[in-house]
Symmetry: C2
């Protein structure tokens, strides 16, 4: 059975995984692009133009080792409503996510929402909308993923719910050296998390610290 892994979750020093004031123009609120700058600098980021001459910033190759893993070995994704669209997307029947006609998931994606809608296929990605507990959603995603892992894609509320239900096998946080001051906290309700996980910390030349939480054998 595949593992449930949450990769590439960027957080500020003060533990915010997204900023305040999320909207269609500001998916991460006042954090802007600051939380994910380390990722945009890696070769793995799909936003580079083909053939673009890329001068790698310090640490980008080290960071890329981590970034790549977020795209390898997954057969399905689970995401929260807050990742699928800006606040209020449930009122817009035409909202199809942020990712255009060819979303990068290329697998079934299970979107947790209290207001489900019919499934939507865009390119090689099919979004399914579930009003379900973390356990139920994971069961469906595992069925869809077969032998492969399931990606837990965020946002922070969803990560916390799955951590609290002790369903997460691997969590990769990237601590970015900024103090956001406000937004959505990743750590709330997670007191004692370290008792259930082994942790490896790696600081790279870009200044971020990768925290790899690996669930201890049960």
């Amino acid at each position: 059975m595949g593992r449930l892994r949450a990769p590439n979750i960027s957080v500020s020093l003060d533990g915010f995984a997204t900023g305040e004031g999320q909207s269609i123009d500001a998916p991460f609120g006042h954090a802007g692009r600051r939380l994910h700058g380390w990722f945009f600098a890696t070769p793995t980021w799909p936003g580079h133009h083909p053939g673009e001459e890329q001068t790698l910033a310090p640490g980008a190759e080290e960071d890329d080792v981590f970034a790549r893993r977020a795209f390898e070995g997954f057969g399905a994704e689970i995401m929260g409503a807050g990742k699928y669209g800006p606040p209020g997307w449930q009122d817009d029947p035409d909202w199809q996510g942020w990712w255009g006609e060819e979303p990068p998931f290329q697998s079934p994606v299970f979107v947790l929402t209290h207001r489900p809608r019919p499934s939507l296929t865009l390119g090689e990605t099919t979004f399914h909308f579930l009003d379900a507990t973390p356990e139920q959603a994971l069961r469906q995603a595992r069925d869809a993923a077969g032998e492969l892992d399931v990606r837990l894609g965020g946002g922070p509320t969803t990560i916390r719910e799955f951590l609290s239900a002790d369903l997460v096998d691997a969590l990769h946080l990237v601590v970015v050296p900024i103090v956001l001051g406000r937004g959505e906290r990743i750590w709330d309700g997670q007191e004692g998390l370290e008792e259930r996980f082994d942790l490896r910390s790696t600081t790279t030349g870009s200044g971020v610290t990768h925290l790899e939480f690996m669930r201890k054998p049960r």
Copy 2:
């Protein structure tokens, strides 16, 4: 003129620099010794017995490079009331701090409190009690320190006050891989701190990450 440096400030992943429920039996509340375990493992920690055979834990030598700096080049210390004693020490005229007859400071120590008392000399350390703003306290401590630096010794509230007043030249935080869940936060009110400081991050074999904030030239 010496710098104001805050060294060896341990914080949990979720940004707590002390736990909840501080008392005379639990100076760091429910955090116990967990925030400072990395320090106790270094040769610099003064609690080792003379002649003790010490087998260094992984990373302890790397950590010691940082730990040592907390004891070098200082001519005075400023600390908050919360560091000098457990809640309510102001009501006990006999309270003389946690450190016994020979406190490790061996310099003037300026204790910020709204209820000053007469100065107290123990061994080579003299405690002065000030009801003062951060600026006023720093002026007095600098006068006492001469050419040497002034140590900002904590607790978290005091660190935050001096950061907010932009008086801190160097801040050394040690991020310990535990999630405390409750206590006193170090980051509150510090949004955008990174704009005023250069930052170097170093993860050691003990699993902690040293964050060195160095004030940019004004």
